[in-house]
Structures are given as structure tokens and as C-alpha cells.
């Protein structure tokens, strides 16, 4: 006869809402929002209200599995762990440590990411570790690190309400970051201008003062166009440029060619509209830019973000409340996974692996030499697996079989590995190809911390005991390291892991569990007294002066032609989360949306003879997908949209694996497809 509420953080998106897990008689009965939490403020979205539903699902992996013949069979922990350790050692000894790749999880806690990257680097000896940030905000990290010196959201979610102008681009905020959209609407109530720039007519566009609809893949053009107008009209912030930036002249020369007429030809945006947007953004006292995948998931993703950074610095809209560049991170802990160095070229806190001093500090702390060369990224790992230079992959909490581009290629690659270890809470298409499967714990069964999109470090707490024989991810990594003879991961608990990490990471140095008991903290938090940093770059940028990096527009890697006349853009839907392993097992969410639909503009539908709910076949150069059609004016004519959350209608069977050269992110947002109606065969 027990009733308990355990304070935790929602495991779905990067908003990081505080919620209580309600336990009645030891079972999860529901969730409730936390009234005093700065993000949720007493509210949650439908995913937050259903966050408990998947935890005790029957489908949970309860026992380790290993492949005997063609099938995966249950086994016990010792067998699975010893087998894995032996195989890893064998492969490392015979093919070298760089033949092993690690895919970490943006859903796992900071402690687990740290332990995993320590395992990859100190126990196996390779820098081949990456995670799904590669597929979402890698351009943000790369570009903002170059422009500002720090690749994270500059402001906080609560202070968006204080903006006087909000430019939302490439983000379907109401569906994917509801708490942020709530703040945007609240700012609008207070008189703020809302400018939405998106190729699709998103929900927030109905509330925008200005809705600009450029063509797919033309972001650098319209951003440079805005800067051209701003400089022409003298709306730029000279004082800010002189005091705090470098290379203004190079930028001015570059954007001079992006006159409103040139921009209209490239993007389809009318000069008058662009001018109005530029005016609103530049002349408002506090203007914020919010963006997500629509800006980053292109072959020009890094350039897109650099252009946005240029725009913000040009108008002095950085470093004050309600302003700044705000990349809205997707996963609940993708910011944390990046901070913990689960990336091939950096250690914790973005300290570079090829920086001898930084690496030296870790080598001393961990008592072992560490590899110097940056490793391979996610898509490169898959390619290397296909070509044979990677023999083993250890994947935690990731489902590349649905989230990576060109999944037929992914299937080939994963099937050709000598060892595939998958550690997850549910069986998924990636796990089905595995040699060994470790059952892991969900957010409700372990302690740890998450870092949400506005750099907010928060504690999650254990509510129930691990389901079945599952173990927290950090414990599995610890056991594996012990068997492989390395004592470096013998942690007593998550707190010890966090403290070790904080001692090596200046931006996290002042954070510890007892401080987190009282409230969340936003890094940089350099010592015990530091209250955290809601707004970055107030006095100066992390690198000192911000640098303008001029960028030129390049078209997307694949454009439409006669054979494939429609543009395909992919993205998320509100009711499901990413590859759906958790959300498709939650009855509430599944009831709202149980299958995928391709969004087609009614004009295109008429041309093709397609009606609502007809089955259509959408094909690209990579593959084809059968999916039902939904007619909506949300997509412009000539473009279709498929959400990537559904395995049976996998949008990524069609997408283009072409990558951004700097950040290696695939171009999920633009590729060319053909659509035809599937006529039902007559059964005789």
C-alpha cells in the first residue's frame, strides 16, 4: 500500500521537462508535471504524460541474448559478457583497435556516455566513437565552435519569453519542442514579432507575423540575402561589430552578391517579404533565432549554421536575454552525450584528442596512453563496416537501421560485421542483426544525469528496480571492462562517474550531485559557488571575438529531374519519438498515430490521381516505400514529406547518404523521389 512520487526528467525530447513518476504499490501508474520546474511549469506534452507507459512493457528485453545459428537465444550475463570480451580482444589484437567502432546513445545518461567513451578510448584504444548527434546537430557543434568558440545553445528556454522578435527556421517547434513553442506564443502575447521561415507551412506559421517559404535547400541564400539588406540599409549593429567581432569586411564582400533579386531567383522569396523579415529581426531590441534540423540536415548544414551565426553577430543579437542562436537539441541527452565526448574528435567538454595538453591530462587521470588520431563518424563507420575495415561495432541505445540514411546499405554493412553488440531496452531492427544483445535499463530504473538543450544538467532518479535481468548501461560497461582486465571503470555508482568526469571538465567542474538535488544547473559552472550560466557570450565570446565566416550557397546534392520529379523532405511527428522503440509501445501515443502517412499537396495529388488514404509507392535512387497518402497544404506543391519514425514505411530507405564535408551529417532533408499510386490487384 504505497504511494510515491519520484522526481525525474522526461526521456523524450531535449526540452528536459521535470516530471514526477507516480508509483502506486511499486508499479508505475503515471506521470505528473512538476509545478516548480523552470521548463515544464506544471505542464507536459502528450509524450511526457505517457513517459511511463513503455517502461514495464512486455516487450522489454529481460535477458541477454546471443546468436546461435540464425536466431538469437537467451543466455545469462556471464556467458554473454565473456563471449563479448573475448571477441573484442581477438578483433583488437588481430585487426587493430581501430577496427572496432562504438555508437553511443543520446538517450543514456551523462555518466553512461562518459563510461562508454572511456571504455572505447582506454580499454580498447580507439577514437571510433560517435552518436546520433552526427545525424542532427553536428553542424551546430562544428559551426558555432568556429564562430563563437562554443557549440551550444546560447540562451535558455525560459528567456525566450523575453524576446521581442523570434526567428524560427527549420523547426516545427509546436510538434517537436512544445515547451519552446509555448514560450514563443507567450512572447507573442507580450507583443513579440514571430517570423517563421520554413519550406513547410508548420503549425507555428499560423501564429507568425511573417511566414516566409523558401525552396528546400536554399537557406544560405536567404540568410545572406537578409544580411545584404541589413548592411545596405544600415541596420547592422556597428558598435557590436567593432567591439566584438572579426572579419566583417570579408562578410560584407561575400553577401554583396546576394541582392534581393538574386535571392528571389534562388529561393523563391519575394524581396519585400525578405526585407520585412530583415527589418523585424535587425531592429528589435532582443531577437532570438531558433532552429533545428531544417537548417542542419543538409550537405550545407555547417554553412547554414555559420550563416545564422553571421546574421546574429551582424545585428548584435547575442549575449543578452531573449536573443542569441538557439539550436533546439532533439534527444533528452544529446547535449550531454556531446559534452561527455562521445565524439570521435573530442574528449569531455570538447577538449580535442589531438591537443596534446588536453589529451595528456586524461592520460594522466586514466593511467593509460590514449589514441591521438580522430576517429570515424557514424555514417563513415557504416561505410567502413560495409567495406570491411571495421570488423566490430558496439551500439548502445541507437537504431541505425531506421535513423541512418540509405538503410539498405546499413543492413548490408551491419550484416557483414564479425561482431555486432547491441545494448538496448527493446528489440529493434538493429538488435535483430546483432551477435550479442545486452538488456539495459530505462530512465526510470537508474540514477544519473541528463543535459537538456539549454545546457541544463538535471538528475534522474530510480523509481523501480531494473526490469527482468536488465542492468544500467554503465554497469554493463563496467563488467565488460573488468573482464577485459581494465580497472579504470570500477565505479561504485553513477555519482563517482560524474565526479571523475567533472574533475576533468572545466565547464562541469562546479556541478555535483548534492547541488543537483536542489536544482538544475546550466553549464559552464566552473566551481562550487558558480550558479550556472543561463546566457553565454555576455561580455565576450568563448573564443574572445566572434568571427564572421562568409559562406556561399551551394545547391543540395540531389535535385529533381525528369525521372524523380518530386522533392522529399523527412522529419518528425509530434506523437512519436524518433525510431519509435519507446513511443510505439505506448498505448496513448500509438492510438493517436499508429502508421505513417506521406504528406502530399492537394495539387500534386490531383495530378497523380491520388486521394486521401490511398496507398502510394514512393521511390528514389536508393529504394522504395509503400505508404498511405495524406492530403495537406502543409507541404508546398512539388514537395512531399515522410516522417521517419515508422519501420514499415521507412523514410530512410529513400534518403540520400551524401554528407556535409565538415560535420559529416547526411542530407536527410532533400532528395528526389517519384510517387505513384498503387493500384490494388484484382483477385480472381
Amino acid at each position: 500500500m504505497d504511494y510515491e512520487t519520484v522526481m525525474s526528467v522526461c526521456p523524450y525530447c531535449g526540452c528536459g521537462c521535470g516530471l514526477y513518476l507516480e508509483l502506486i504499490d511499486g508499479h508505475l501508474a503515471g506521470t505528473m508535471p512538476s509545478c516548480t520546474h523552470p521548463i515544464s511549469r506544471g505542464a507536459l506534452c502528450i509524450k511526457g504524460w505517457s513517459a511511463h507507459e513503455f517502461v514495464e512493457s512486455e516487450d522489454r528485453l529481460r535477458k541477454p541474448l546471443w546468436k546461435r545459428g540464425a536466431n538469437l537465444e537467451s543466455t545469462d550475463w556471464d556467458t554473454a559478457l565473456y563471449f563479448t570480451a573475448e571477441r573484442l580482444k581477438y578483433i583488437a589484437d588481430n585487426y587493430g583497435p581501430d577496427s572496432i567502432g562504438f555508437l553511443s546513445s543520446a538517450k543514456c545518461t551523462n555518466e553512461e556516455n562518459y563510461a562508454f567513451m572511456k571504455f572505447a578510448r582506454s580499454v580498447v584504444g580507439t577514437n571510433n566513437i560517435d552518436h546520433c548527434a552526427r545525424l542532427c546537430h553536428a553542424p551546430t557543434v562544428a559551426a558555432l565552435a568556429r564562430s563563437f568558440g562554443s557549440g551550444a545553445m546560447t540562451n535558455s528556454v525560459p528567456d525566450i519569453e523575453q524576446s521581442s522578435c523570434i526567428l524560427v527556421t527549420g523547426s516545427n517547434t509546436s510538434e517537436n519542442h512544445p515547451m519552446v513553442a509555448a514560450r514563443v506564443l507567450a512572447a507573442r502575447e507580450n507583443g513579440a514579432y514571430v517570423v517563421v521561415v520554413d519550406p513547410r507551412r508548420i503549425h507555428l506559421a499560423e501564429y507568425a507575423d511573417l511566414f516566409v517559404q523558401p525552396r528546400l535547400g536554399t537557406d544560405v541564400a536567404w540568410i545572406n540575402g537578409m544580411m545584404n539588406i541589413i548592411i545596405e540599409e544600415g541596420w547592422h549593429n556597428n558598435d557590436f561589430i567593432i567591439r566584438r567581432t572579426e572579419q566583417f569586411e570579408e562578410l560584407k564582400a561575400c553577401v554583396a552578391t546576394y541582392t534581393p533579386d538574386v535571392v528571389r531567383d534562388v529561393t523563391g522569396v519575394e524581396p519585400g517579404l525578405l526585407r520585412l523579415a530583415a527589418r523585424m529581426y535587425a531592429l528589435s531590441s532582443n531577437s532570438a533565432i531558433l532552429y533545428t534540423m531544417g537548417i542542419t540536415e543538409h550537405t550545407t548544414g555547417t554553412d547554414n549554421v555559420l550563416a545564422l551565426a553571421n546574421l546574429a553577430m551582424l545585428t548584435g543579437q547575442v549575449g543578452k536575454p531573449g536573443s542569441g542562436i538557439n539550436p533546439l537539441r532533439g534527444q533528452n541527452n544529446v547535449q550531454g552525450a556531446c559534452d561527455m565526448g562521445a565524439l570521435p574528435d573530442v574528449l569531455t567538454g570538447y577538449q580535442k584528442v589531438d591537443d596534446d595538453e588536453a589529451r595528456g591530462k586524461f592520460e594522466e587521470a586514466w593511467g593509460t596512453a590514449l589514441p591521438r588520431e580522430p576517429g570515424l563518424t557514424v555514417v563513415e563507420l557504416i561505410d567502413a563496416a560495409a567495406s570491411g575495415s571495421i570488423k566490430a561495432l558496439y551500439i548502445i541505445g541507437e537504431n541505425p537501421m531506421l535513423s541512418d540514411p540509405d538503410i539498405n546499405h546499413v543492413r548490408e554493412a551491419l550484416s557483414s560485421l564479425e561482431l555486432l553488440v547491441v545494448q538496448d531496452i527493446f528489440m529493434n531492427p538493429t538488435a535483430e542483426l546483432a551477435t550479442v544483445v545486452f538488456p539495459a535499463c530505462s530512465f526510470a530504473e537508474k540514477e544519473g544525469t541528463f543535459t537538456s538543450t539549454d545546457r541544463r544538467v538535471q538528475k534522474i532518479r530510480k523509481a523501480i528496480e531494473p526490469v527482468g535481468d536488465s542492468k544500467p548501461d554503465w554497469e554493463i560497461i563496467k563488467l565488460l571492462a573488468q573482464i577485459m582486465g581494465s580497472p579504470g571503470l570500477d565505479f561504485a555508482g553513477p555519482e563517482e562517474i560524474f565526479d571523475e568526469m567533472a574533475s576533468l571538465t572545466p565547464t562541469y567542474a562546479g556541478i555535483n550531485y548534492s547541488r543537483l538535488e536542489r536544482s538544475s544547473l546550466q553549464w559552464p559552472c566552473r566551481d562550487e559557488k558558480d550558479p550556472g550560466t543561463p546566457i553565454l557570450h555576455r561580455e565576450s565570446f568563448t573564443r574572445g571575438r566572434g568571427v564572421f565566416v562568409p559562406v556561399e550557397w551551394r545547391p543540395p546534392a540531389e535535385v529533381v529531374d525528369e525521372e524523380y520529379p518530386l522533392y522529399l523532405t523527412t522529419g518528425r511527428v509530434h506523437f512519436h519519438y524518433h525510431t519509435g522503440t519507446m513511443s510505439r509501445r505506448s498505448p496513448t501515443l500509438n492510438r493517436e498515430m499508429s502508421s505513417a502517412a506521406v504528406d502530399v499537396n492537394p495539387e500534386d495529388a490531383e495530378d497523380l490521381g491520388v486521394e486521401e488514404n490511398d496507398l502510394v509507392k514512393v521511390s528514389s535512387r536508393r529504394g522504395e516505400v509503400k505508404i498511405r497518402a495524406r492530403l495537406t497544404r502543409m507541404v508546398p506543391p512539388g514537395t512531399v514529406f515522410i516522417p521517419f519514425n515508422f519501420q514499415e514505411s521507412a523514410a530512410n530507405a529513400l534518403t540520400n547518404p551524401a554528407r556535409d564535408p565538415v560535420s559529416k551529417i547526411p542530407e536527410f532533408k532533400v532528395c528526389a523521389v517519384r510517387m505513384e499510386k498503387v493500384t490494388p490487384r484484382v483477385v480472381r
Partner: protein
């Protein structure tokens, strides 16, 4: 996904001939034949209206009317027995209370009260029925079709 359909200005539509579509719910005890009910409406209105037989008007739930408006009907008409004549004795009491409240609620939300009509009818007095129904149809015709409006942009506080 937004499904708002852009509506033309109400005033413009008033000048065009407009045939309202109604959702008609009628009690089977006072009006057992759908064809009879159909005959009370002008033929062009009956063409695009839907007729639903209820066991008693007490079966009438708010959802029926709300969903009818959401599906695009321009009016909802409920025809039931007079007080004292209900087959279930007091079914029509509850129906009228519900519908009175619903009517007030819908007018709060911007639906013309004329669009929701509830008439107690005696099956022997066809004149009265025709008159009531006719005045309702006339009322709806003059206010125009029921459609989502453009989202309303409030004046900006400056």
C-alpha cells in the same frame, strides 16, 4: 498539421445563393419516417442534409451536434416529442436542458444560436413543423456557411 480552410468573408457569402446543409436528428416516436422528415425541408436543403433517427431525443448528446459542426454542417436540427408526450416520460426534459446549455456554449464560442434548433412537435400539426423548420433554414441561410475562420490576429500591444 493544420487543417484550417480559408473562409471567405461572411458578408460576401450573404449575397450569394447558399444552400445550408443540416444534420437532422429526429425522434422515432413522433416522426418514424425519414421521408416524412425530409418533406419538411426545402428539397435542395434535404439533398445535402443527413437524417438520423434517435430512439428518443434524450439520446442526443452534445458530441453529436459538435461533431456535426466540425464535419461542416451548417446547422443542427433536433425534432422531438412535446412535454408530456415522450415515450420514456421524461426523456425530452433532459434533452431540452442539454441542448439549451449547448446552445449557450456554442454561442460563446462563436456559433450563431440560430444554427442549433430544437423543436417540440406534435406529429399531427404539420403546419407548425413546416413553419418552425422553415424559419430555421431561413435563419441559417442568412448567416452563411459554417466554416473555420482565418486565425484571428490580435492587435499588437505597443
Amino acid at each position: 498539421m493544420t487543417t484550417h480552410i480559408e473562409a471567405e468573408d461572411e458578408l460576401v457569402l450573404k449575397r450569394q445563393p447558399f444552400v445550408p446543409s443540416l444534420a437532422v436528428f429526429h425522434c422515432r416516436w413522433c416522426l418514424p419516417e425519414t421521408d416524412l422528415v425530409r418533406s419538411f425541408l426545402p428539397p435542395e436543403v434535404a439533398e445535402c442534409s443527413t437524417f438520423i433517427t434517435l430512439n428518443c431525443t434524450a439520446r442526443m448528446e452534445a458530441e453529436f451536434a459538435i461533431k456535426a459542426f466540425s464535419e461542416g454542417f451548417d446547422g443542427v436540427l433536433v425534432l422531438g416529442c412535446e412535454i408530456g408526450e415522450c415515450h420514456f416520460r421524461t426523456g425530452n426534459h433532459q434533452a431540452v436542458k442539454r441542448l439549451a446549455l449547448l446552445k449557450k456554449m456554442m454561442s460563446l464560442c462563436g456559433v450563431y444560436p440560430a444554427r442549433l434548433g430544437f423543436f417540440w412537435i406534435s406529429p399531427y400539426d404539420e403546419e407548425a413543423i413546416r413553419e418552425n423548420v422553415g424559419s430555421m433554414v431561413h435563419g441559417i441561410s442568412s448567416v452563411g456557411p459554417f466554416k473555420y475562420g482565418k486565425t484571428w490576429i490580435r492587435p499588437r500591444p505597443r
